[in-house]
Symmetry: C2
Subunit: 326 residues, 2 copies
């Protein structure tokens, strides 16, 4: 708590210095105690300049997804009101799911620096090396039916694409249903899971994995990271801030979630279409028992992909793996 | 294990006696040990006659939903292959859900003699006094999408209605989506819960609560029990066997589940329509935010109720509480 208090004071005076007298007074502790706290913060990665006459000055904060840093300047009321950060978990979705089962409120966000068994769709895994990605899951408790869950996945995709665009300038696009791609390479996956009755969702867990600082060599085939794509684009910002991207994701999710509840899915659908590279593209869909090929026509009001087969027939696809056909 | 072995021998000779020599030989233990086991079985509710010259004879088994009794003469391969019986649980659905999360196989059945927090739809409770009802939940892992889950609820309703008809002769009817009624009074509720991704069900828990021997005084308003309905009908069988009904439910579920996977939902839908009192009836539907009134027209291929409004428009209802209008 004292650390956070000291940080808050330093932050507010980010332009100048804060004298140790002032810090002592505000925190109600001695100079020596202040020094100890400053040392602890430095060990956590905060760069704090100490000048004998002027006092302390905050130079840089660590790019760590810890509650105090994520919450700093986070402009949300629901999403991220409660944040739990872990060094290592099996899967942030599993942690969030268990918390939700115990009654954890909507908007709680779980971060992990590393996932040992990061989850992808259909039991696949999501490679989650330490400190290079954003691995987060949040709990939602919308009053929807199970067949409307795809709406939330598409909403999340819209939010992540917007957040990455806003924070990095990369033209992140959506690949149905739940991938975010840059230049055709996957940099983010989204996994939505739920507990539900027949006609009512109890809770949803939305898991988002973004490859941020991952090296090219550490990436699986077809995947990329924000860092790799920034380099490819010849951009000068080569160390994208996970904090900045994570905050933007949470803010976008809150904004769109409120919009969905107020005004329905239509506006989200429109955003999705703008951010998707798919309409008009030729695709193959591999489904459980069969596959089909056609041109992407649209998405429907439940988030299913509408494909125009070569026969001219329109078919709604609500499950499957997409291969883009050139 | 020895108890079950002894029981099996007694059962096979249900017409006559089994000498204690024979039992000793088969079980590989002494006469005194046999006597101890027989005493234990008697304490569990088995009526076993002992005659000095003829040996032992099984007269009656207790109507308890324990694995050895349920499995005895149970004609299934999947449903009930694993059975776990509890004296008292919060909710059999919760127990089954937790087991499924840990990987328990499809077909595992949980019984409880009593539920402290038996669950109904939408967070309601299901009164579950000890020893008078069947409180069971089973795990399914069908390869379906979340929006197809209503099919399983309707399937379960068909199975329970058939099982009660078969075991008691009462004309059990289905009230959409998940009640079984006799003479307009509810004797059974079904609660289906699932863990799912957007497009794939991980597992389903189907919970079934049947009021079997419950007294009229102990029943909530609008509810009844098999025993009460048998009395009303002036039938001589006034102590319906929970074991018999439970076994029939499991057998029907297995039969219809295999049928669903092989031949699709059409045949189940037809059964449902035959067993439902609803088509042609005037109903009110109370939904989350609004209500509607009309005549039940049909159910659709996803298990939604099709209602013809007074305007003539057909509306599919997939969620809500039904009130029959006279």
């Amino acid at each position: 708590m004292l650390d956070e208090k000291i940080l808050a004071v330093l932050r507010r005076s980010a332009e100048g210095h804060v004298s140790s007298e002032e810090l002592c007074k505000l925190a109600g502790i001695s100079r020596a105690a202040i020094w100890k706290h400053i040392e602890k913060l430095r060990q956590e990665g905060y760069e704090i300049e100490a000048s004998p006459h002027l006092g302390y000055r905050l130079i840089a904060v660590p790019d760590r997804l810890i509650p105090s840093e994520v919450k700093w300047a986070l402009n949300t009321k629901i999403i991220g009101k409660e944040i739990l950060s872990y060094k290592k978990v099996d899967s942030t979705n599993d942690v969030a799911y268990k918390l939700a089962e115990k009654g954890m409120k909507e908007g709680c966000v779980i971060f992990a620096e590393e996932q040992e068994r990061g989850k992808g769709r259909h039991g696949r895994n999501w490679l989650s090396p330490p400190h290079t990605g954003i691995y987060l899951s949040f709990i939602l408790r919308p009053e929807i039916a199970p067949n409307e869950i795809a709406r939330i996945t598409l909403l999340a995709a819209v939010c992540v694409a917007k957040a990455i665009r806003g924070a990095t300038g990369l033209s992140a696009m959506i690949k149905w249903p739940n991938d975010i791609i840059v230049n055709g390479r996957k940099i983010c996956g989204i996994l939505t899971e739920m507990k539900a009755e027949q006609d009512r969702v109890d809770f949803l867990i939305v898991g988002i994995g973004v490859n941020v600082g991952t090296n090219e060599r550490s990436l699986p085939k077809g995947a990329s990271s924000i860092r790799v794509e920034l380099r490819r684009a010849g951009r000068t910002m080569t160390h994208p801030s996970r904090l900045e991207i994570a905050r933007r994701i949470l803010e976008e999710v809150e904004r769109h979630y409120i919009r969905l509840n107020k005004s329905g899915f239509k506006a989200i659908m429109d955003d999705w279409k703008h951010l998707s590279s798919m309409p008009g593209s030729r695709i193959k869909v591999a489904m459980q028992t069969r596959s089909l090929e056609g041109i992407v026509h649209d998405i429907d009001e439940n988030g299913a992909l509408i494909v125009r087969l070569d026969s001219g027939i329109l078919e709604a696809v609500s499950s499957g793996d997409i291969i883009m056909v050139r």
